[in-house]
């Protein structure tokens, strides 16, 4: 098991991190999906007292990883925010201002329902679908259009997980990176999310996040 794993698609090198994100070396870009900021705030505003520290730590983890990889750009494959605006957005704003030179591009997801003005203020470029060279980014894998076999699309939305079964009715489930022939699905970045099993076919690659490391399980 390794803390970081290299994975190559279309001659581009990517680094998979157990912090639930991926680094694109050539583009000096970090790629994440499903950050769901304001989710704890949304629960709390409705009278459900979930701990806010899970949100705070998500932002800290992302900050640390941006510094670690010296990333210049951050691509979010959808669901940056969870619901309508709440005060937790102010913490995100502070976080954003600490990373002034970082370029952020958001591919709109089903949860991204904030007003345009907010994205402008945060200096976040929003797109429904993003193309960079041989690669595309969109939120829901169902919306991914496969233009030609060489083209590769990264998505989020599913919060993918993989379950492994063993002898003696043993069963484990982990969040994972899933790489199909033309579509790659990123794990949900936020720790306040569950996961849904992906059905991986033969020839596809799945990397499970096991504790603080990455293991290829298929």
């Amino acid at each position: 098991m390794n803390a970081l794993v290299a994975y190559t698609i279309n001659e581009n090198d990517f680094v998979l991190s157990p912090e639930r994100l991926m680094y694109w070396e050539k583009q000096k870009t970090l790629i994440i999906a499903d950050l769901h900021i304001g989710k704890t705030g949304h629960f709390r505003k409705s009278g459900i007292p979930v701990p806010q520290n899970v949100f705070k730590e998500d932002l800290q983890r992302l900050f640390t990883q941006i510094l670690f990889f010296k990333a210049e750009k951050l691509i979010i494959a959808g669901d940056l925010s969870h619901s309508k605006s709440n005060k937790e957005m102010d913490l995100f704003k502070k976080w954003r201002n600490d990373l002034e030179s970082l370029e952020i591009i958001l591919v709109n997801g089903n949860h991204d329902i904030l007003e345009e003005k907010w994205y402008e203020e945060m200096r976040i470029e929003t797109k429904d679908c993003l193309d960079i060279g041989d690669f595309s980014f969109c939120h829901d894998p169902e919306d991914a259009s496969i233009k030609d076999p060489a083209h590769y699309t990264f998505c989020g939305h599913l919060h993918p997980g993989i379950s492994i079964r063993g002898r003696g009715r043993q069963f484990l489930q982990f969040p994972c990176f899933y790489f199909g022939n033309n579509i790659g699905i990123l794990p949900a970045f936020s720790r306040f999310t569950g996961c849904v099993n992906v059905d991986a076919q033969k020839g596809e690659n799945v990397f499970a996040i096991v504790d603080n490391g990455i293991m290829q399980v298929q």
């Binding site: 705030g41 009278g47 459900i48 701990p51 003696g168 399980v217």
Partner: protein
């Protein structure tokens, strides 16, 4: 049950949606009840704090709102929160329900979501006296059509499983003892006619079960009251260890966890375990190191208290309790009744919440309550100690049946399982991958 913080929090919210409550007055009142007579000022403050400011918050980034203090009176003023609370009053937590509807309209009834989720389209089940073929589901509704299939799956409901009490368990052991003695008399005098014995002295239940008892005796052993039967069976699934103390399911769950924990200290090993009112099973992918030489030691009452603590922390018993506690305590929003779509933005599963609280707010009262309830109800030290002392006095009989016995079969097929492991997660994944490749 004592100090049920979940029920107390729900009740306080109920007061708060009507005329509100004054903290000091209510404190005196609840302290006068049996259930909360032991509550401390500190715990009471924590509960109030939880209701008004939602535990630990990131000060200026928080808009937690549930109960407000207006002129010294605790009130809920927000209409939506009050409405949600009213719809969630109650302390019997049911499974999420799905509507069952004909493809062309007719509404048939409701059924638990987990049952539907295990069906594949085309499978037939019975409901409301009809045979129905499952077609698809959408928005918490399962669509079905009439079926003429001869066979159908009978739905089951998760409902409470009432465990045996200590007294009933004792009675059961006595009954088995009688059966066992009877059969050993028969065995000693082959050829004697025992029909008059069966018809006059044996109750009908035992007479009906006689073939099963005989099969049990033939494959393994029929334990007497002063014996503890342990069966070890190896199958394609793995290595099974069945133990039959006849103490009721809750005690067995605790005993299974403690035994698994004790064995896992001998060697790195992973168990999945299941239980019913008669006994429990430990199942592992590798041989279970238990034999004549260490079996009494594994059932020793020594260090029981420490082993209870450690085994609860390494299993998921508390997580299961938390599901109900979180729902009663208002952490889980089950959606409005009759709602076509679930309000997804406010939903998180109990197991996700359990993990989040364990990691980020380990002192949360509702989380503590779920551990306390496991200790108080299942890990009842005196009852466990009595049982272990009884086992120490009795004869432990280890058998190695060639195939499943009548005793073990119902436990083996139980799908409610837990696990406990002393292996590294990484090693477990590697082993599972290897076994898949074989």
């Amino acid at each position: 049950m004592l100090l049920c913080y979940d029920v107390l929090m729900q009740w306080l919210c109920t007061l708060a949606i009507s005329d509100g409550f004054v903290a000091d007055e209510v404190f005196e009142e609840i302290k006068s009840t049996y259930c909360y007579s032991e509550i401390t000022k500190d715990e009471w403050q924590q509960i109030l704090h939880n209701l008004t400011s939602g535990g630990n918050a990131l000060q200026q980034y928080d808009e937690y709102k549930k109960v407000e203090i207006i002129d010294g009176v605790y009130r809920i003023t927000k209409r939506r929160i009050a409405m949600r609370h009213r719809l969630h009053i109650g302390t019997i937590v049911s499974e999420p329900m799905m509507k069952v509807q004909m493809l062309h309209g007719g509404f048939i009834g409701v059924i638990e979501e987990w049952f539907i989720s295990r069906l594949t389209p085309g499978e037939v089940f019975s409901l409301a006296g009809r045979k129905l073929e499952y077609v698809s589901s959408k928005d918490m509704t399962a669509y079905v059509r009439k079926s003429n299939a001869k066979k159908s799956i009978v739905p089951s409901w998760q409902g409470g499983r009432m465990p045996l009490s200590a007294n009933l368990g004792k009675k059961l052991r006595e009954t088995l003892n009688a059966v066992s003695r009877q059969s050993s008399i028969v065995n000693r005098q082959p050829g004697t006619d025992d029909s008059h014995l069966t018809s006059h002295e044996t109750p009908i239940e035992l007479a009906t079960l006689k073939p099963l008892f005989e099969l049990q005796q033939q494959l393994s052993h029929l334990p007497k009251a002063n014996e503890l039967l342990i069966e070890q069976i190896e199958t394609e699934e793995g290595h099974h260890l069945f133990v039959y103390p006849f103490e009721g399911r809750l005690v067995h769950e605790a005993m299974a966890a403690i035994l698994a924990y004790r064995i896992s200290r001998i060697t790195p090993i992973t168990f999945s375990f299941a239980m019913n009112d008669y006994g429990f099973e430990l199942l592992s992918d590798q041989p279970i190191p238990i034999d004549d030489s260490n079996v009494y030691e594994l059932f020793s009452p020594e260090n029981l208290f420490e082993d209870i603590q450690r085994s609860v922390n390494s299993t998921e018993m508390a997580k299961r309790k938390f599901r109900d506690i979180a729902t009663i305590g208002g952490l889980i929003f089950q959606g409005m009744p009759g709602e076509r779509k679930k309000a997804r933005h406010l939903q998180a599963s109990a197991s996700l919440l359990f993990n989040v609280f364990n990691e980020y707010e380990p002192h949360n009262l509702l989380l503590r309550q779920s551990y306390n309830e496991v200790f108080a109800q299942q890990m009842e030290e005196t009852r466990l100690r009595d049982m272990l002392n009884r086992i120490q006095q009795s004869k432990i009989i280890l058998t190695f049946p060639e195939r499943y016995t009548p005793f073990c079969f119902p436990i083996k097929v139980d799908s409610m399982r837990e696990d406990l492991s002393s292996e590294k997660l990484e090693d477990r994944v590697k082993k599972m991958q290897l076994s898949l490749e074989k």
